[in-house]
Amino acid sequence: MMHNRNKLFGAMLLAGSFFLTTNSIAAETYDEDTYGPETPIVWENPTKVNFSHKVHTMDAGLSCDSCHDELFTMESGAILATGEMTMAAMTEGKFCGSCHDGNTAFASNTQCVSCHINLQEIAPEGTIVWTKPVKAVIFDHKTHTEDYGLSCDSCHDDVFAMQKGAAEKAADFTMQSLYDGKYCGICHDGSTAFASDTRCNSCHIGLKGYNRLMGNKGDH
């Protein structure tokens, strides 16, 4: 007897849950004619970027003509062929940047992962090696993002411009600046992360380390 009662109870639960699910889907049906293609657009060039019509139309309430065809032609892949859609262009207010300017929507140089679904794609996988003012200092994106959970905008672009070699060009890219709370020193202050004047050789790899990294044989 007990056995049968349990079976019955289980069947009722199952039926109930089916009812609930189908009901919720039915409440908001995605209409491709109104909201655009349901599958997210994925650009492969220059990096892998994800764009969801749903988020912008159904959720944010934009209409098709908010973007088409003034900002983006509706033809698949056409915009990529021009090669003009870069982060720099967005900063100038073009493409996504016309809304993603920090007022209408989050600025294009923040929240990178919202569109760049694979962070590793944009953060250089290899170690960053600075050679000025001294040879050589390393920085590993992976350690800071994956291991310590920082996001791109923790450092970019307020602390470091997202451009290769930019920091090295600055005259104040020195240990003193770090001690003064600039650059790495913002976090590496002894409380958030180890202080800049300790554990020197966590980042400094020396000329020998540099040569090894570059595949040169050291001079002795």
Partner: protein
């Protein structure tokens, strides 16, 4: 002589000796021990006391025990070294060190170890230790290398060097190399001819160091930073290969 009476005598020590006398005694100690094997004679004389070798853990001379008028030395604040080798480059430029693979007067040594799965790096600057009892000077057949009488710097007289390489074999610090251009053995001389002679107070390597690892100076002068580093505070100070009894004048610390 009655030993019982002598035993009651208080040890005079060398603290109360006039400076000149002490210096002469130290120099004598150098000359005597130079001839014989190792430190057997040294251990019988006060020289060992003077160098403080009898006290374990301190390889540095104590106050007033520097035999030279301007007793130059260097302190390496080892943990500050980031291995950038600007010192090596500055030395090569200043002292015209040939661009050969094993030609250098100073070098940065690197040690990599793994600690809790992470790679740990250490750098150690090395140069001639300008020892108080330099093995190289003792073995040179022609006095081509000698202690500068005023500063204690171990210098070369290139014209006298016969190239027997005994000094290279004798040096515990690998501080010497054959300079093909000079056709003689070459080594660090604390920039005595290139910088000190022109009134500069620092060696090229010390001046070039961005991390102020190398503190060069006169150990005799109490106002110098090197004197302060060596004689105040309780930071551990060590020298390289103290077992060879060479009494080096390059000291290491983590500060």
């Amino acid at each position: 002589m009655k030993i019982e009476e002598l035993e009651k005598e208080k040890n005079e020590g060398i603290e109360n000796l006039p400076l000149e006398e002490r210096r002469n005694f130290l120099k004598m100690g150098l000359a005597v021990t130079g001839v014989f094997l190792g430190g057997s004679v040294l251990s019988l004389t006060s020289v060992s006391h003077a160098s403080n070798q009898s006290i374990p853990d301190t390889d540095i001379p104590t106050e007033g025990q520097y035999p030279y008028t301007k007793h130059y030395g260097m302190v390496m604040r080892q943990n500050r070294c980031v291995g950038c080798e600007k010192c090596v480059e500055a030395c090569k430029q200043t002292n015209h060190v040939p661009d050969a693979h094993d030609a250098y007067r100073t070098a940065i040594q690197e040690r990599r170890t793994t600690e809790n799965g992470a790679e740990k790096r250490e750098f150690r600057p090395v140069l001639c230790n300008h020892c108080n009892r330099p093995p190289c000077v003792r073995v040179c057949p022609t006095k081509a290398t000698y202690k500068d009488p005023e500063t204690g710097i171990v210098v070369m007289d290139y014209a006298k060097c016969i190239g027997c390489k005994t000094c290279m074999a004798a040096c515990p610090y690998n501080a010497r190399y054959f300079n093909a251009e000079k056709h003689a053995i070459d080594k660090c001389n604390f920039c005595i001819d290139t910088r000190l002679a022109e009134g500069q107070t620092e060696t090229a390597c010390a001046a070039a160091c961005p991390a102020r690892v190398r503190i060069f100076g006169n150990l005799k002068d109490k106002s110098t930073e090197i004197y302060r580093l060596l004689h105040t505070g309780d930071t551990k100070i060590w020298v390289l290969r103290p077992d060879t009894g060479a009494l080096p004048n390059v000291f290491y610390m983590n500060a």
